[in-house]
């Protein structure tokens, strides 16, 4: 596989739904050995991840009753909230070039958190709106 083909795969993997690493692995597998290659890549990424998360799950149910473990996990979960918040802030800063981005962002957050709109409709309505707006802006710029 050439450098260019790999970079194309990376972009493609980021745009398509699903974890980026998994999508990229599937893409590489498919370009190298077709559908069997893609399936091999899918299995090869999934099995180790599955094993590790199962061990984590087993430990969770075994030790959750222990007060130290429980306190540690409460701390970890609080940390995960902080991490997600940091992520949200970082990603929002990337959008600052255009204030209309924040209108779409706020509308999405409100629809999901306050009104519990299903993700499918959020993507169909706000996603399509975002894509349409981006295309329209590009067309005007040309």
């Amino acid at each position: 596989m050439s450098e260019d083909e790999f970079m194309e795969g990376l972009e493609f993997a980021q745009i398509m739904p699903g974890p980026n690493i998994l999508n990229l692995a599937v893409f590489c597998g498919q370009r190298v050995r077709g559908i069997p290659g893609a399936i091999t890549a899918l299995v090869a990424v999934s099995i180790p991840a599955f094993a590790i998360v199962l061990i984590a799950g087993a430990l969770y149910f075994r030790f959750i009753g222990n007060p130290f473990v429980h306190a540690a996990l409460l701390g970890c979960a609080a940390g995960a909230v902080g991490l997600t918040l940091g992520n949200a802030i970082e990603l929002s800063v990337d959008l600052k070039k255009d204030w209309l981005n924040f209108v779409l962002l706020a509308a999405t957050t409100a629809a999901v958190t306050a009104f519990h709109v299903h993700l499918l409709y959020v993507l169909l309505v706000f996603g399509a709106l975002g894509i349409w707006r981006h295309r329209a802006q590009k067309a005007r710029a040309q």
């Binding site: 398509m16 739904p17 998994l22």
Partner: protein, 173 residues
């Protein structure tokens, strides 16, 4: 309906809606597995998400922990397959069919046009995960410290979560 089929249904839909690397599906997943089907509690959801961030690999791997709680190892396998197979299949089909993928305009429009929506979903995820964690000065301080460290240092996500665990033993016991 059989719980396995129900899990396949729930996680497959989330799988193909997982734009932005799956960052955006957390609120809908919480709605489905906690509020609608009561497979796990809100605190378990936050804890499993945390484990998903801690272990190597995609965060959405924590769907396996939900499946594990529902139906043991076979439940974990079904939940993980339902999460990973549909998006991968979509990837394969799109790569095969869409020979015009070179069309840069569309690539850009999807990536940049969807970005504000995905980020809006990440903000919603903060509230979703926040619902299931400890509340109080100690927990808020840990969360705030991690946010600052994440934005200001190069510490990795697992390192920050482990640090939070140590802080949890100190202040949340």
């Amino acid at each position: 309906m059989n719980v396995y089929w129900r899990m396949i249904q729930v996680f497959s839909v989330l799988s193909v809606l997982g734009f932005g690397g799956g960052k955006g599906i957390i609120p809908q997943m919480h709605h489905d597995v906690v509020e609608q089907y009561h497979w796990i509690t809100s605190s378990q959801f936050s804890e499993f998400y945390t484990i998903g961030k801690l272990v190597p690999g995609p965060t959405t791997i924590f769907s396996a922990l939900i499946g594990f709680t529902v139906a043991g190892i076979s439940g974990a396998a079904v939940a993980l397959a339902a999460m990973f197979v549909p998006s991968s299949a979509l990837m394969m089909v799109t790569d095969k069919l869409w020979t015009k993928w070179q069309n840069v305009q569309w690539k850009d429009a999807i990536a940049k046009g969807l970005a504000p929506v995905i980020v809006g979903l990440v903000w919603s995820s903060v509230f979703t995960i926040g619902r299931g964690v400890a509340h109080g000065v100690g927990a808020y301080a840990i969360a705030a410290a991690v946010t600052v460290l994440m934005l200001r240092t190069k510490l990795s996500a697992p390192a920050l979560i482990l640090l939070s665990g140590a802080a949890g033993i100190a202040v949340l016991r």
